[in-house]
Symmetry: C2
Subunit: 439 residues, 2 copies
Amino acid sequence: MEEADVLIRDCTILTMDNKQHIIEKGFLAIKNKQIMAVGRSTKASSLIKAKETVNAAGKVAMPGLINCHTHAAMTLFRGAAEDKPLDTWLRKTIWPLEAKLKPMNVYDGALLACLEMIKSGTTCFSDMYFHEDMVAKAVEKVGLRAVLAEGIIEAGDSARGEKMLKDGVSNAKRFNGYADGRVSVRLGPHALYSCSPNLLGRVREAALRLKVGVHMHLAESLDMTESLKSKYGLSEAELLDKIGFLNDLDVLAAHCIYLSDDEMRILARHNVKVAYNPVANMKLGMDAAKINHLLKLGIAVGLGTDGPASNNSLDMFETMKVAALFQKSSYHDPTILPTETILRMVTIDGARTLGLEKQIGSLKVGKRADIILLDFEKPHLTPRHNLYANIVYSARGSDVDTVIVDGNIIMEKQKVRTIKEKEVIEKAQRTASNLVAHA
Amino acid sequence: MEEADVLIRDCTILTMDNKQHIIEKGFLAIKNKQIMAVGRSTKASSLIKAKETVNAAGKVAMPGLINCHTHAAMTLFRGAAEDKPLDTWLRKTIWPLEAKLKPMNVYDGALLACLEMIKSGTTCFSDMYFHEDMVAKAVEKVGLRAVLAEGIIEAGDSARGEKMLKDGVSNAKRFNGYADGRVSVRLGPHALYSCSPNLLGRVREAALRLKVGVHMHLAESLDMTESLKSKYGLSEAELLDKIGFLNDLDVLAAHCIYLSDDEMRILARHNVKVAYNPVANMKLGMDAAKINHLLKLGIAVGLGTDGPASNNSLDMFETMKVAALFQKSSYHDPTILPTETILRMVTIDGARTLGLEKQIGSLKVGKRADIILLDFEKPHLTPRHNLYANIVYSARGSDVDTVIVDGNIIMEKQKVRTIKEKEVIEKAQRTASNLVAHA
């Protein structure tokens, strides 16, 4: 048998494959960044030679978590303005702070976010922000996987919109396939309230030319949705449909709260993917998106944290639980979005949402080896009547022991190998303090 | 200066006193179970002699968290039935399992719950269950503080109701002031759908005679509230008012979701205290209680996890965040229940809810020394723009480093001193597996 790069043995494996197989006392072998073998530990598997062996007895292996919507570098502004309405929060605090952001600041904030994500088991994130070149460099450094979209905000200034589109296209060309293929790209038209239909048309053309998708906000706020309706006479998804934006375009839409049934059908018809962000939605006083409706229409839904300044955490375990809770309460139905569905949203369905389902999202031979190990020898993870429930309702990011991305062990026994944690934290603290002090 | 038992120094102190003072670089001295001194670290404080000194640089000290409503031993059933309606969950799974529960099983489950609570920073919990004598023994063993109420369920069988009341009274007499005063007691009439008005009247008399309060469920489920209304012609709080149950009685009511404005005024008039359990409420598909209305009426509101089989966690940091999120979403107002209010609910207002505000809930000289230290040198707790927001929105139970109850250090550097963690976990796993296997 050929030699593996990494062998993980004697753990419970949550494959998240089509049949949602769970393997007790299983092993995973990794070679050339891919999963080379997965199965029950047997005499044969115990003979596999590997450069590095991880004894994972008492642990649970599962696909690395996928965060479908965030603004990573906004860690810098976590706590800078709390308990405010969205509009006030943006105009009074966030946009003035962002106006002062330098590329190196984005690097510092993104590195802090990456550290937080690794420590809580996220192996792939879908980002929209400014200076995504710096985010790409942070991702390369720490060893994560990411889909990066340079934000494009016109805000009534068409020259600004054109400039940002140009930057977005330039970054997309530069960083598609970056970091050994772990980075892919999208264009990031911010939202319908910040980009005109004309600019959106130009973004669409550029995305089709580049053969990349777009990542945008949609129907996040009732106020903004209503103000757009009075301006255009159409709801958000209707407007996108009417201007032809959705035709042939791979669209990842974050939020999707304030949509009519007709609009949901528009999204389904155009194969739009949805990133659902329950924590940030609730914190801003918004309603629950109708996720069960979207799922019934066959729409791919992944989960996201949204930016760490509006959540204020990047822990996807928390987001899993809150997503289930908010949906059950909103539909007045405890049976909807059961644990299996929630787990799919952060693994294989998250991958579908980002168009990466062939590469990641489940533990199958041939897929990229993005794997996390959870330490289950904890009081809150006892007893083990139901493994899925243990993970969705009881586990926390701090239960993640080991993180593997693209076959590389980037965290082991809660210690990150690729960066110096203390330095990253201290640098981000200084950068954040300086930005806020001079606001 | 007299010698302290414990000296904690060089930490940030969140006092939760009337003025919500935050002391940077502060110290706390503990003597005879009480807080002897609290203030800024100075030359004088550095000269205090202590039997044990905790160097807490980089840490945040705050009052131990108070969980106002749980059924601790139900850790055994965590995950035994998931994503079910309340009625099905109770009748098909929980009640049949509980029928087989032996006192020692309750001890095993309660000990696991205590371990989980210590590790996530809860120092006092308010419990309602069967065999509370065993819970009292677990509490004594681990060193926590608790308010224990023996559950009383009549369920149409008045002899059963009488028997349970008798047991409740007997346990109340035996365990009030137990474990060096850390245990106090209540009577636990389960709910209006499980106890008749006649039995409730007898519970009230017994409680007044014993000079203890009661702990009950109120208006948790719309179905049950409506079924009671069709039976009695009155809503739940109206019925309690009409039968005189609330007169002169110290009532802790868990949930309080389905109440009219009139009923909320009834609760306020009788000084009823409320334990709010957002996670369990949402998981069962319920609505949000109108907490902002209750607070405006001057009602004391604390937070609870509810039982670990319906949450499925005892982490009060999670409960803090979900409480804020659910209320903001439900009221469509991101400004309500700001971080200060949420923090009061798990500290000083939690103490008020249990009638313990003179003993615990804030870090003031003369109060019992129930203190936790949070390790803040973590990526998700960076930067520190807003300490309250860091704790409510970003911290997790796993950030708790040290736990002190009644002046005793029961956990240091995440290691519990009073029990062997591994043994507690393994015993509870065996007990839980046996119970479910023979269901």
